[in-house]
C-alpha cells in the first residue's frame, strides 16, 4: 500500500467548461458533497488502484486574460496539467499553445500533460478535428482525450489516466522522496518529485523540516 499525493492543475480559456468537467466527476462520486466549501475552484479526488491510493488535489486556474500573470501561483509545483479546450471553438485550441509554451519554460519537464477536447457531444459544431488535436498532443508529449460534461464521455477516464501515471512515476526510484508514515516499510506517502515538483508548493514537502 502506498499513498501518492499529486497536484493537478486545470488550464484553459474561460468558457471551455473546466469547472463542469470536475464538478461532473464529483457529483457522480459524491465528492461535491464531502469536499471543500470553496466551490468548483478546488477539489479532492481520491482514486485507489490495486490498494494504492492516489490523492489528487485539483486546482482550477483563472482563465481570463486579465488574470493571466497570476497563473504561475496556481501551477507551480503541479504534477499534471489538464489543458482544456472547446472542440467547437478553434480559438480555445490555439490558446492551449500559449499555455504549453509558458509551462515548458517555467515548469520544465516531468509535468504530465493531458490535452482535453471538451464538449465532444457537440460534434456537429466541431471546429477542431480530432486528428489535428491528436497530432498536436503527440508533438508536445501529451495524452489526448475528448470529453463531454453533458453525456459524461471521457471524464472518469481522464482522472484514471492521471492516477495511473502518477502511480507509475512513483515507482521510479528517483521520484520517491518523501516518506512520512511511521511504518515506512509497509505504508508510505510518496510525494512525486521531478523537475516540476522541486519547485514545490508548501503543501507537500514541508514535513521534511519537521520531526519525522
Amino acid at each position: 500500500m502506498k499513498i501518492v499525493g499529486a497536484k493537478v492543475v486545470v488550464l484553459g480559456s474561460q468558457g471551455v467548461g473546466k469547472t463542469s468537467l470536475v464538478t461532473r466527476y464529483e457529483t457522480k462520486t459524491f465528492s461535491r458533497n464531502t469536499s471543500s466549501t470553496i466551490g468548483a475552484s478546488f477539489s479532492h479526488i481520491v482514486i485507489v488502484i490495486n490498494g494504492n491510493k492516489v490523492r489528487m488535489q485539483v486546482w482550477d486556474t483563472a482563465g481570463q486574460e486579465r488574470f493571466r500573470s497570476m497563473a504561475p501561483m496556481y501551477y507551480r509545483g503541479a504534477h499534471a496539467a489538464l489543458l482544456v479546450f472547446d472542440i467547437t471553438k478553434l480559438q480555445t485550441f490555439n490558446d492551449i499553445q500559449t499555455w504549453v509554451h509558458e509551462l515548458s519554460s517555467r515548469v520544465g519537464e516531468g509535468l504530465m500533460l493531458v490535452l482535453v477536447g471538451n464538449k465532444c457531444d457537440l460534434d456537429q459544431r466541431r471546429e477542431v478535428a480530432r486528428d489535428v488535436a491528436q497530432q498536436y498532443a503527440a508533438s508536445i508529449g501529451a495524452i489526448f482525450l475528448e470529453t463531454s460534461a453533458m453525456d459524461e464521455t471521457g471524464i472518469d477516464e481522464m482522472f484514471e489516466i492521471i492516477a495511473t501515471e502518477m502511480l507509475r512515476k512513483s515507482d521510479d526510484v528517483d521520484s520517491m522522496v518523501h516518506v512520512y508514515s511511521p511504518e515506512p516499510a509497509t505504508k508510505s506517502t510518496i510525494v512525486l518529485n521531478n523537475s516540476a515538483s522541486s519547485l514545490n508548493d508548501s503543501s507537500l514537502p514541508q514535513a521534511q523540516n519537521s520531526c519525522c
Binding site: F30, N33, V46, K53, S69, Y74, R106, P182, E183, Q206
Partner: protein, 409 residues
C-alpha cells in the same frame, strides 16, 4: 484538521466486507452499488453481524440515482450535502456525516465507490452506542489545547511546551532583525523540538504509530500552540521584512478607495454576501495561528461561495481582491508570509485546500500590488508584478526552499 483521513485497506469493517461477504461485494461492484464504511474509531468491538454489513451497501434508486438509495436491509437513504439520512425512521431520523469518498479499482480495473462515514449508518442499538471515541476535528486553538491536554498527558504537556516557548523568546530577543529565511529556520527548529518533546510521552507515541490521523492532529496542535505563544514577537519580525511591500500595497489600496463591485466584474447578486464576507476577513488580523487565520479565510470565502453556487477561480479572484482592498488591514503581505512560511505540520489531508486558499489570496494581493486594477492607466502593470514585487516574493520562495526564485514568479 478539518478533513479526516484513514487507510481504508486497514479498516476492519471494510476487510470483513471484502473478505467474508465476497458474493455481496462482487455483486455490488458489478452493479455499481455504493459501499459505506464507518471510520475505524467508530466501529463496534463485537463481531459484525450480517445486517451491519448489508445495511451499509447502498443501491441507487431508478428515479434519482445520485441522491436516493436503498440499503440491502431495505431502508431508504437520502444524500444531502455531506449527510446521509435514513428515511424510514420517522420518529428518530438518523443522519451520518460522509467524511470522504474514494473510487477503488481492482486488478481488472473494475471500479466501485466507497464512502467513509463518521458513524455507522445502520442504527442498530449495539452499533450506535458502541462508537466510543468522538472524531477529533481541529478548528481552533481551543481544540488544539484540548487535544494536547487529553492525548498528550494533561497539564504537564502544555507546561513543557510553555517552557520551550519561553526559552525561544529568551534566546531570540531581536526577531525584528532577522530575515524571513532565518525566522522560518528558527521556528522550524522550535517546532521539531516541540514535537519530540510531545511524543516523548510513551502512551501517545504508541497511539500515533497506529493512527496517522492522530499524529497529524498532534503535529497541527503543537504548531498551533507554539505559534500562538511566539506570535507577537514573530509577527514583529515578519512585519519588518514585509514593510516595504506593505507600504506600496497600502498606497495602491488608498487610491482604490472608490472601488465598486462592478469594477471587478463581480456578479452583483454577490454584493450582500460580500459585505458579510468583509466583516469576516478583517478578523484575520486577530488570529495568532495559521489554523485560525486559515479558518477565517475559508469562512470568508465560503460566505460568498454558498451564496453564488459553483465558483471558479475566475470568479474567486476578484472576490478576494475586493475583500483585500476593502478590509483596511495595513499589513497583508505580513499575514501572507506568515501563512506561507509557518505552516510546518501541513502534510495532512486538508493541506491542499489550505494551500489553494493561500495561493488564491497571494494571487489577489499580488494583482492589486501590481497596480493592474487601475486598468489602462498602468499598461505595464503585468511587468511590474514581475519586477517590483520580486524581492519579497523571491525571499518567500527561497525560504520555502525553492530552486532559484527568479523563474518562479
Amino acid at each position: 484538521m478539518e478533513r479526516y483521513d484513514e487507510d481504508l485497506n486497514e479498516n476492519s469493517f471494510f476487510q470483513v466486507l471484502r473478505g467474508e461477504y465476497v458474493e455481496v461485494f462482487e455483486r455490488a461492484v458489478e452493479a455499481g452499488w455504493i459501499l459505506c464504511v464507518p471510520r475505524a474509531g467508530a466501529l463496534p468491538k463485537y463481531a459484525l453481524a450480517q445486517d451491519d454489513i448489508l445495511g451499509h451497501i447502498l443501491v441507487p434508486s431508478d428515479e434519482l440515482p445520485e441522491t436516493h438509495f436503498r440499503t440491502l436491509t431495505d431502508r431508504g437513504v437520502v444524500v444531502k450535502g455531506n449527510l446521509l439520512t435514513l428515511e424510514n425512521e420517522v420518529s428518530n431520523p438518523h443522519s451520518v456525516h460522509i467524511l470522504f469518498d474514494e473510487v477503488f479499482y481492482d486488478e481488472d480495473m473494475r471500479k466501485y465507490k466507497v464512502l467513509c462515514l463518521e458513524d455507522p449508518l445502520y442504527a442498530s442499538h449495539a452499533l450506535a452506542s458502541s462508537s466510543s471515541c468522538d472524531l477529533v476535528m481541529l478548528f481552533s486553538l481551543r481544540d488544539c489545547i484540548d487535544l494536547l491536554w487529553t492525548e498528550g498527558g494533561g497539564e504537564e504537556a502544555l507546561k513543557r511546551l510553555d517552557s520551550l516557548v519561553q526559552q525561544f523568546l529568551d534566546k531570540n530577543p531581536n526577531l525584528e532583525e532577522e530575515t524571513l529565511q532565518n525566522l522560518r529556520d528558527l521556528v522550524s527548529e522550535l517546532f521539531s523540538e516541540a514535537i519530540q518533546v510531545t511524543l516523548s510521552d510513551h502512551r501517545l507515541k504508541h497511539k500515533t504509530k497506529e493512527d496517522q490521523y492522530l499524529l497529524d492532529s498532534i503535529k497541527l496542535s503543537v504548531e498551533t500552540y507554539l505559534l500562538h505563544g511566539i506570535y507577537k514577537k514573530l509577527m514583529k519580525g515578519i512585519t519588518a521584512c514585509t514593510s516595504g511591500d506593505d507600504a506600496r500595497l497600502n498606497r495602491i489600496i488608498r487610491n482604490l478607495s472608490d472601488l465598486q463591485v462592478r469594477d471587478l466584474d463581480i456578479d452583483p447578486k454577490l454584493s450582500s454576501s460580500l459585505t458579510k464576507s468583509k466583516f469576516e476577513i478583517v478578523n484575520i488580523e486577530g488570529y495568532s495561528t495559521p489554523l485560525g487565520k486559515l479558518g477565517c479565510l475559508k469562512r470568508a470565502i465560503s460566505i460568498v461561495v454558498s451564496q453564488g453556487g459553483v465558483v471558479s477561480s475566475d470568479e474567486l479572484l476578484p472576490i478576494l481582491m475586493f475583500l483585500v482592498v476593502k478590509s483596511n488591514l495595513p499589513n497583508w503581505f505580513a499575514h501572507l508570509s506568515f501563512l506561507k512560511l509557518f505552516r510546518f505540520s501541513a502534510a495532512g489531508a486538508d493541506s491542499g485546500e489550505q494551500s489553494f486558499n493561500i495561493s488564491s489570496l497571494e494571487a489577489a494581493i499580488q494583482h492589486i500590488s501590481s497596480g493592474a486594477l487601475f486598468g489602462n492607466t498602468s499598461p505595464e502593470a503585468d511587468c511590474m508584478l514581475q519586477v517590483e514585487s520580486n524581492s519579497l516574493a523571491q525571499s518567500m520562495e527561497e525560504a520555502l526552499g525553492y530552486n532559484g526564485g527568479n523563474e518562479l514568479l
